[in-house]
Symmetry: C2
Subunit: 302 residues, 2 copies
């Protein structure tokens, strides 16, 4: 039996995830949410003394910034644009007639100025750039948001709408690569503290098409992306539960992020896939949090 | 000076809301989020003993359920459908060319199976119906989700993406109308406890077009909707921060929600507009939570 389907069915049966009829789109029970909240408190305790500025962006971002980001070049298949009905009363009558006849009424929808946020840090770069040069020492930001990726799947660890917690660092190359290493070490320790077996590996983003293969190879060759892998639905094909990304000065140059001395900022981000971490915990320790090992419960709930 | 713009500018200047370049789409500071989290704990303390089942749906819902809900009949102008690129590599080349030339690349996007959630309770009804008849005594649910409404505005209390906390009751007419009255009383007391001046008034939903006026009048004539109003940007035109809705057996009949004896369930929901409540608190007590009255701080932060 397919391990992914089997685990998803067990999550449905236990009521931890709730079917909606769309693959990768699920409701969450109070118990599932409690695990995510507890793990976020662990993140807060781990990173809380670093003085990051907390910002929470909504699940959608400005389409103009999304376009400028180049996301449609690299991952067009994953993006979600938000469209609305912008017609008059006569158009509305046609729309309802189309729906009644089972036609494709969505063709008349017009793109709004909003695109679903593809990763928690996408809205950050233009926001920080607008403030002017970074303060001395650079910038550190604490983000969390719902993210959308259009990749329907019956793997519970591959959802279309999910939450990502991120820290983003802007500064010199030395500063942001040190930040990335710090969080690789912290990430491994955090996962070990909650009883998960982890490994860190070099990785690449899912660039689109044949041209994308070159970008992926380049990313790997330069060690720009690492992932923290944990078994969720498979011990062989493990799930990336954190990622550690060094953007060099690519985002700094694109958005005009300047250091105090006027030079282009380097940036790095570390992301926690909150649903994936919760799923890894349920996979490792069982579907009832009351039965989890005492040491894990103590780390999560004190 | 326009009071709405003035308050929005003050919120930007204080860093509580963060501009994104799109009206009604804002980032939130850590302090703003802290107010929402504190008010949600007050909701938890108020309703926590009622034994509601907590479910958290993502910001999007199954389009098939959305279509069946009739939302496009009543509020087509507010809905947001999610669209994606579904083409091949050649299509991708055309897409990028279109973007480069400043064309409308969004026309090629195809509707996915996902629509942005218009109100926190919309995904609940089909979910509960699928379980079969309600248990004896009916059902009570505790929801919170991001909601989307396409109504760009410079009123900070009218955002395109915002969070709604809801309790939903399913049962006999007597049970659900008693539930609604209970929360009207609780809502008034909660707002008074945090130092807000409130009034409750009969209300109607923003139905589309001329035909919608009849629906709105009918809703008012039957007292199906009440709102709890608080001054945010204006003492004259107050802002609805909670709503109390009795659906009669309309949702029960549409979704097949049955009571234990097989009769059609009546339903009611009460909703908290979390951003609006936070904004009402900032408008009443000032933009720095440290300066808020001691009794208000005690209710929110103990």
């Amino acid at each position: 039996m397919d391990m992914q389907v089997s685990f998803l069915d067990r999550l449905f049966d236990a009521g931890l995830l709730i079917e909606t009829g769309v693959e990768g789109l699920y409701g969450r029970s109070g118990e599932f949410e409690g695990v995510i909240a507890a793990f976020e408190r662990l993140i807060d305790r781990t990173g809380g003394e670093d003085g990051a500025e907390a910002i929470r962006f909504p699940p959608g971002m400005n389409r103009a910034f999304f376009e400028k980001s180049g996301y449609m070049k690299s991952f067009p298949q994953l993006a979600g644009t938000v469209h609305s009905f912008c017609g008059c009363e006569l158009d509305h009558i046609s729309l309802l007639k189309c729906m009644e006849e089972g036609g494709d009424w969505t063709e008349g929808q017009k793109a709004t100025e909003i695109v679903l946020t593809p990763a928690a840090c996408y809205p950050l770069y233009p926001t920080v750039a607008k403030r002017g040069a970074l303060p001395a020492g650079g910038g550190l930001y604490d983000l969390q948001s719902w993210c959308f990726r259009h990749e329907p799947s019956n793997d519970p660890a591959r959802q279309q709408l999910f939450r990502m917690r991120e820290y983003v660092c802007m500064g010199t190359e030395a500063k942001v690569t040190e930040f990335r290493q710090l969080w690789m070490d912290r990430g491994v320790k955090m996962m070990q503290d909650v009883g998960l077996s982890v490994e860190i590996d070099i990785a690449n983003d899912p660039f689109f098409g044949r041209a994308g293969k070159l970008l992926a190879n380049n990313q790997r060759d330069q060690s720009l992306k690492f992932e923290l892998l944990i078994p969720v639905t498979s011990d062989v094909k493990k799930t990336a539960c954190m990622s550690f990304n060094y953007h060099q000065d690519a985002f700094g140059a694109k958005w005009g992020l300047a250091l105090e001395d006027g030079s282009v900022a380097h940036t790095a981000c570390v992301g926690f896939g909150l649903e994936r971490i919760a799923l890894a915990l349920f996979a490792a320790h069982g579907l009832d949090t009351k039965d989890w090992p005492d040491n894990v419960r103590t780390v999560l709930w004190g």
